[in-house]
Each structure stands twice: as C-alpha cells, then as structure tokens.
C-alpha cells in the first residue's frame, strides 16, 4: 500500500487534469489519457489480485504491457511527421509483439515477461526520442512550452532508466527477494514522475486552446 500511494496520486492527478482539459486535447493526447487510466487500473487491480485474492498477478501485467506498448506506439505514430518514420514505428510494434509472444511461449503467461518490458522500454525510448527531435528541436517555439516535449520526456524518463531493473527483475525475484523489493522503488519513483509530467502536456494544451479562444 505504501508503494501504491505515490503511484496513484501521480496517475489520479494526470487523470483529473486530462478530464478537465479533455475537450481541448487533440486525439494523441486523448490516447495518453487512456494509457494513464489503464495504468491506474492495472496497478490497482494487480495489487487487488495479489493482496486480496492472494493470487499471482503476472498474467494481468503481461496482458497490460502489450496493450500499454501498443497504445504508446500508436501515440508516437500519431505525433510523428513523415510516413517512413511511421512505417518504421509500425514495424517496431510487430518486432515487440514477436518478442513478447516468444517470451510468453518460452516461460508462461503466469511469469512476468521482463525481457519484453526491457525490449518495450528500449523501443519506446527510441520512438519518443525521435518524436522529440521530430517535433521540438527544429521548432521556432520554446521547447518547454510544447506539450510534445513533456509527453516525450515523461515516456523517456520512465522507460530508459528502468531498463537495468527490469532486466534483473525475474532473476532477483527468484534469488534475492529482499533486494528485488528494495530495487522496486526505482520503478515506483519513475512511475510516480511519469504521469505528472504527462499532465503538464495536458495543461499546456488546455491553456494554448483557451488562449486562442479568448483572442478569436
């Protein structure tokens, strides 16, 4: 429960902000809001399965991870200009699905597919760095005032630093449970940072749109 609180606070904050500015959000950002809501649901339900039903919840996170990766990749495709980049991103989704399915088939749906998480994190980091460069670096507007910057930063910040932890996740769970619990704080901190950063993009979009409406 101690770990759940900062996660839920960050997600709830992003969801409230997203709903408040919902009508001003372009389509990719509505999808972002959906990913935040799904993530809150997965965290809450996963913990319910483990703590209340006393069952393994890895199957649920295995299903959630492919949905989350798919949604985040689609958002990256929607935010990218240029058809070749979009095609490459679509190919990366296929690569991820193959990786995910292979791991699930080799292990089981009841064991967390940690290497699929690592693969997904690497692919999303690459995609969102590209989105960031594609949308912001050559822009003549202040990068910090661009919603796409905060959205990309939130995804990169969550995915990239978590790679070492997720790479060792299953090994540690099997061999050093106490250490695994200590290191899980890495994921908590990164996840707690991710969604408030995404919320900044909602706020910027809402403010930009209301400013336009006020001057029209």
């Amino acid at each position: 429960m101690q770990l759940l609180l900062p996660l839920l606070v960050g997600k709830l904050f992003a969801i409230i902000i997203g709903i408040y500015y919902f009508r001003y959000l372009p389509r990719p950002y509505k999808w972002v809001l959906l990913t935040v809501a799904l993530s809150a649901f997965a965290d809450g339900y996963g913990r319910y399965i483990a703590l209340q039903l006393h069952q393994h919840n890895s199957w649920m996170f295995n299903i959630y991870m492919i949905i989350d990766f798919g949604l985040n990749s689609i958002i990256a495709i929607l935010l990218t200009k240029g058809s070749s980049a979009k095609r490459i991103f679509a190919a990366l989704i296929v690569v991820y699905c193959i990786g995910w399915a292979t791991e699930i088939m080799i292990d089981s749906i009841y064991i967390l597919a940690n290497f699929a998480i690592v693969l997904g994190s690497i692919l999303l980091t690459v995609m969102y760095f590209f989105v960031l460069i594609n949308n912001s670096i050559f822009s003549n507007k202040d990068i910090l005032k661009q919603p796409v910057f905060w959205l990309s930063a939130s995804t990169i910040l969550f995915c990239a630093p978590g790679i070492p932890y997720w790479g060792l996740h299953n090994y540690l769970n099997n061999n050093a449970l106490k250490l695994a619990a200590q290191l899980s704080y890495i994921n908590v901190v990164l996840d707690a940072l991710r969604h408030p950063l995404a919320a900044i993009s909602f706020i910027l979009l809402g403010r930009q749109k209301t400013a336009v409406l006020n001057t029209a």
Partner: protein, 254 residues
C-alpha cells in the same frame, strides 16, 4: 545493501541512464533556446529593416508632397493668376477661358489634396479622422463612388500607428477600386472605445485563402503585415460574388 554488487550495479546503471537522458534532453532544450533566440533576433532585424524601408518611403512621399505643393502648386497658381489677368485685359476671352480657369482651380485643389495624402506629417498634425475624411473627399470628387462615412472620435494611436493605418486605408481603397470594381463604400472610424476602422465595399469579393496563397495576394499580405507591425488586429471578411459573397469588409482593431 550498498555492499551488494547487484544492488550497486542496478542503481549505478539506472543513474547513468538517467544522466544520459538528462544530458540529451538538456542539450535539446539549450539548442532549442539558441534556435529561438536566433529566430527572434532575425525577426527583430527584419522588423527594423521594414521600419527603415517604411521611413524612407514616408520621407520620399513627404518630399514628393512638398514638391507638389511648392513647385507644381505654385506654377498652377501662377497659371491661374495669369488667366485672371488675361480675363481682365481681354474681357472677350473671358468666356472661352472660363473652363480652363475652372480646370486649373480643380487641378490646384487636387494637387493640394494629393500632397496632403502623401505627407505623413500632415497625419500627425491634423489627426487620422481629418486625414481619412480628406481622402474620402478626394474619392467623392471623382463622382464615381458613393461613400458612407462615420466617425466618433480621434483614436488613441501613436504617430507610427496612425501613418500605418492611413497607408493601409489607402491600400484598401485602392484594391477595392482597382480589383473589386466597387461602387459603394461604407467607412467607419471609431476611437471612443478603443480604435476600430471598418472599410466595407460592394465589390466582387474574392477567395481569401486562395488569394493569400497566390502571388496576386501580395497587397493583401502587405496589409496584414503592416497591421502586425503596428500591433493591430486585421480581419478580412470576403467571398466571391459567385459564391454568395457580398463584397469585402476590412476591420482593423487595436
């Protein structure tokens, strides 16, 4: 905990990746800032250049106005005086000289008005309401156009803004006469509750998007650019007559 090599490796690897991400993102932010500064500097230089060009144009027009007044005007006055003398000396020529005299008087008046319209000092001295009124008078003298004119007070604009507004007004009229075949104008200048200038004509109108995209829209773009330079908002409501349009209305506001 810290003595555990796995723990240390994971933490250090995480921190290293975080550092790398931070370095890349900060580099992007700094490069963007530099880019934005450069663009702003370029825009400022462009504005300064355009201001310089405008000032030179105004100076040239003022010179031309002065020349019209001092040189052409005085020569015409000399012709008028000479004609009057001729009429006195030779009363039999009085009747045949009458239309010539009238033409000279009209020309003197037209030159005087043209001089005023070219001279931006005149706008500063007499105000925007008076200058626009005189321009409308010039238009009415052509006996081809109907002009409805209303105003309430002199707007609170600085000298540059007044000159720009007046030049834009001239461009709007010129466009309506040259391109839109307009016959009726409705002009309103409001200064009581903030500045607002409305110039509406009954011409054939045009497709705004198409016009701005084509090379023909240079004058229109010029009007919009001037408005931006003066810190004013310019709205253009128009549509081709074939598409159910009802002329063109320019609205200029502070």
């Amino acid at each position: 905990m810290l003595s555990n090599p796995i723990f240390l490796t994971v933490i250090l690897a995480t921190l290293l990746i975080l550092l790398l991400v931070a370095v890349v993102v900060i580099t992007m932010v700094l490069s963007n800032k530099k880019n934005v500064q450069q663009i702003m500097k370029m825009a400022e230089l462009q504005r300064d250049y355009e201001k310089g060009v405008r000032e030179v144009q105004e100076q040239v027009m003022t010179e031309v106005a002065r020349e019209l007044h001092d040189n052409v005007g005085s020569r015409l006055t000399f012709v008028k005086t000479h004609l009057q003398q001729l009429k006195i000396v030779n009363p039999s020529l009085s009747e045949s000289l009458q239309p010539v005299g009238e033409a000279v008087i009209n020309t003197i008046e037209e030159v005087r008005m043209l001089g005023r319209s070219l001279n931006s000092d005149h706008i500063e001295k007499n105000g925007l309401v008076y200058t626009i009124e005189k321009e409308i008078e010039r238009l009415r003298l052509l006996n081809k156009y109907q002009v409805q004119w209303e105003q309430d007070a002199e707007p609170e604009l600085n000298r540059d803004q007044k000159v720009i507004v007046f030049r834009m007004f001239q461009e709007m009229l010129n466009n309506a006469i040259k391109h839109a075949d307009a016959g009726t104008f409705s002009i309103g200048l409001h200064g009581r509750n903030g500045f607002k200038l409305v110039v509406a004509d009954d011409g054939k109108g045009f497709d705004l998007g198409e016009m701005l995209a084509s090379a023909k829209g240079a004058g229109l773009k010029n009007i919009m650019k001037r408005a931006e330079l003066a810190g004013l908002k310019c709205r253009i409501d128009t549509a081709p007559k074939a598409a159910g349009g009802n002329g063109t209305t320019f609205t200029l506001e502070k």
